[in-house]
């Protein structure tokens, strides 16, 4: 077997491993709070009112436009509120939520029987079903899947990311052990949808069981299942593409430019549900783990279920907790447990609150250089980011930082490097925008000058022309007058002669 290795990265064993990742089904909640997708330009608007009765699977919000994306009710009941609530997002912003009070029946909408032989559908039809099922990238990115597939039409290779991305998360592992058949079918659906001839499912080599179960269900010669080293950032899209296909995609370019489509394995399962069973995305698998829970576990829960109700099943201790959504590396700390599970909630970390070690100065030890998967020099970048010397930071390829936090993890001085980098990027962005604005203003000013000049020139030219014309006319007039005078004189002469 080919060995798949990449430079940099850190090996972090799962801090809270469990023997067999089972998936515990969580009963539909009493109340579900579903937040609406708020991507720029693609804001979803509710299409139900407070007090409306809704059924499980019913569309309750969608974006406008020709190809809308949807949110569906995850339980049946009555719409209790449509309001802004804090959502787990790094910026700490509020988002619009639709809150449904359960009627306890979990009554589904009528699901149309659909053609299970997806190969007979046109790829556009497959994409349409994916869109109508409200599927977004479930690995954490949350980008609408149908758009990603449409962009990658004609891709050569489909890569299914089953690497779990971050230490501690186990939901993909569990998913693969539970739904191997569905995943393989889902991959076939996706290949049909994007036109890829070949698919690679990448699994980290510490998930032997998951690997075996997929292998058992794979009868398609065009689908390859490979094991890659368990090393953090192996799951970052561009790193994964490099590992598997040896293609390096520079910043500013996309996988689709290179004929590659990457999808998370959770998304693939959702695609299976959507295309084969015609079921919308209303539940997902979530890992609950961390130092404060006695039983780290995976749960399959309806979207909108509160964090608290799933965390409670993992037996948390009574100490003060630090809640984090997403992985230990790139997740977001949330102030409290008052959140609900969304389409991208892959993991909830419940840790005992600890003091962060104090930050010391950089000793230039170079440990960070060693682990950067993109080959940057975090220590130099840090220097320039700190002093806000953006030109230099850009020289050192700040733009290529994927904010994976590998460098943070190894820094013996506990410098939050990635945080500096994300800040510096934002700053640079702002500066360039200002620069652009200034440029536009200058251009405008220069143009105005030019216009004034031009007007002046035009006007003087016009004046000159007019003068010229006038002169000509006058001259003409003169000749005319002369002619008349001559004629008059002639007449007079004639008259005189006659007399």
């Amino acid at each position: 077997m080919a060995s798949y290795a990449f430079k940099g990265g850190v090996h972090i064993p799962n801090p809270y491993p469990i023997k067999k990742p089972e998936v515990k089904q969580v009963a539909p909640p009493e109340q579900a709070a579903l937040f609406l997708q708020q991507r720029a330009g693609g804001e979803q608007k509710p299409c139900v009112k407070v007090g409306d009765k809704v059924l499980t699977g019913q569309v309750i919000a969608k974006t406008s436009g020709k190809y809308p994306s949807y949110t569906h009710a995850s339980i049946s009941g009555v719409v209790l509120a449509i309001e802004k609530r804090p959502i787990p997002h790094p910026s700490g912003i509020d988002g619009v939520c639709i809150v449904i009070d359960s009627d306890g029946k979990d009554k589904w909408i009528e699901i149309e029987k659909c053609d299970q032989d997806f190969l007979r559908c046109a790829p556009s039809k497959v994409i349409q079903r994916i869109r109508e099922a409200g599927i977004v990238g479930m690995g954490g990115a949350g980008f609408p899947t149908h758009a990603k597939i449409s962009n990658a039409q004609g891709a050569q290779t489909l890569i299914v990311n089953a690497t779990e991305c971050e230490p501690g998360i186990m939901c993909d592992d569990a998913l693969m052990q539970h739904y191997p058949r569905e995943i393989i079918r889902g991959v076939e659906v996706l290949m049909h949808g994007c036109g890829a001839k070949k698919a690679i499912i990448a699994i980290e080599d510490d998930k032997q069981e998951a690997f075996n179960s997929l292998l058992m269900y794979n009868f398609n010669a065009h689908i390859e299942i490979v094991q890659i080293p368990t090393k953090y950032t192996s799951g970052a899209e561009k790193i994964l593409i490099k590992t598997l296909l040896d293609i390096e995609i520079p910043s500013g370019e996309f996988a689709s430019d290179y004929g590659v489509l990457c999808q998370n394995v959770g998304t693939v399962k959702a695609i299976y549900d959507a295309v084969i069973d015609n079921k919308p995305l209303i539940s997902r698998i979530v890992t609950v783990t961390g130092s404060a829970v006695k039983e780290p576990r995976n749960y399959e829960a309806r979207l909108g279920t509160s964090f608290a109700s799933v965390v409670a099943q993992s037996k948390p201790n009574n100490k003060v907790h630090q809640i984090r959504m997403g992985g230990m590396m790139m997740g977001v700390d949330v102030p409290n447990i008052e959140h609900s599970i969304g389409k991208i909630t892959n993991c909830i970390f419940v840790n005992n609150a600890t003091l962060k070690p104090s930050v010391q100065s950089c000793i230039r030890c170079g440990q960070c250089n060693e682990v950067c998967p993109v080959g940057l020099l975090p220590q130099q970048l840090f220097w320039y980011a700190k002093s806000e010397n953006m030109d230099r930071a850009m020289d050192y390829n700040l733009r290529d930082c994927i904010e994976c936090r590998c460098c943070d993890i190894v820094c013996p001085s506990h410098i939050p490097l990635a945080q500096y980098f994300s800040f510096a990027k934002a700053l640079h962005c702002k500066q360039t925008k200002e620069q652009q604005k200034a440029d536009v203003a200058r251009e405008r000013f220069e143009f105005k000058e030019f216009r004034v000049e031009r007007n002046k020139a035009e006007r003087s030219e016009m004046m000159a022309r007019k003068k010229e014309e006038l002169k000509k006319k006058m001259a003409e007039d003169k000749t005319q007058k002369d002619k008349i005078a001559q004629a008059v004189a002639r007449v007079k002469n004639k008259g005189a002669l006659k007399k």
């Binding site: 850190v10 090996h11 010391q360 230039r364 940057l376 190894v410 013996p412």
Partner: protein, 315 residues
Amino acid sequence: MTAVFSSTSQMMRQVIYALVLGISAAYAFFGWGIIVQIFLAVVVAIAVEATFLKIRKHPIKPAIADGSAILTAILLAISIPSIAPWWIVVVGVSFAIIFGKQLYGGLGNNPFNPAMLGYAFLLISYPLPMTTWASEFVNFSQAFDVIFNLNSNMVDALSGATRLDDVKIQLSLGKMMSELNLHSSAQAWINAGFLLGGLYLLARRVIFWHIPAAFLSGIIVTAFLVSLGDGEYLPVQNHLMLGATMLGAFFIATDPVSASTTPKGRLIYGFLIGVLIVIIRTFGGYPDGVAFAVLLMNIVVPLIDYYTQPKVFGK
């Protein structure tokens, strides 16, 4: 890459542990002097560092706890002759901490290796005590007497052949290499101690292989080229196992703060230090070249770093 250091002080501690073998070897041959010097140096370093932090109104405890001042003190104490008078180490360590580190804004901001700055200062200012080495095992009370000047005859009694500079003098007197008694077994043992310690650091990934490897290659290549010339020159193996070679390769040139940080940069940096060491040893006026070679290369580190940026993903 799995080694994750939980703190800077943990890294510094690893370095200090790694020095133990070399120090033990020095102790075994030349006695208590080195132990007294280290002790004295550490006390002075902490006192000076604390005073300075207080003046600069910086928190004292974390800076002392990071272990860097202690490490600087130990490196300097090892580098000077074990029977040097007490004020040598006091002046040297103070100079190293104040001018080598604190005046630049503390750990992480110093362009020069503080221990080597202190050493160079001492060597220039006080050449005699800085080149008077012990010739035999010095017991505890003797060490005390000689370091604290309690018995002025003691120095002459204990000091003898100096190390590398002696080689040059002897050679210039027309002796053949084979006739020289270089105390080479003692020095080789000490160097072997530091070599083993350095390998430990490599294994623990506190330091990376680039600098020591390049440093030693620099020495080997240059020493070989020099030995091709006419006249008697120190052979390659003696360059490697004499003087501060191994200490320099694994502990001094690798000081992260003042070294180059890019992988390619580290190779260039290390190699050129090795080259300079042999040149200074062979043609220069000073006995050993490690300190000057390191300091000279410290100056060009920013340049090296800038021109040796690694290839970035996708570019």
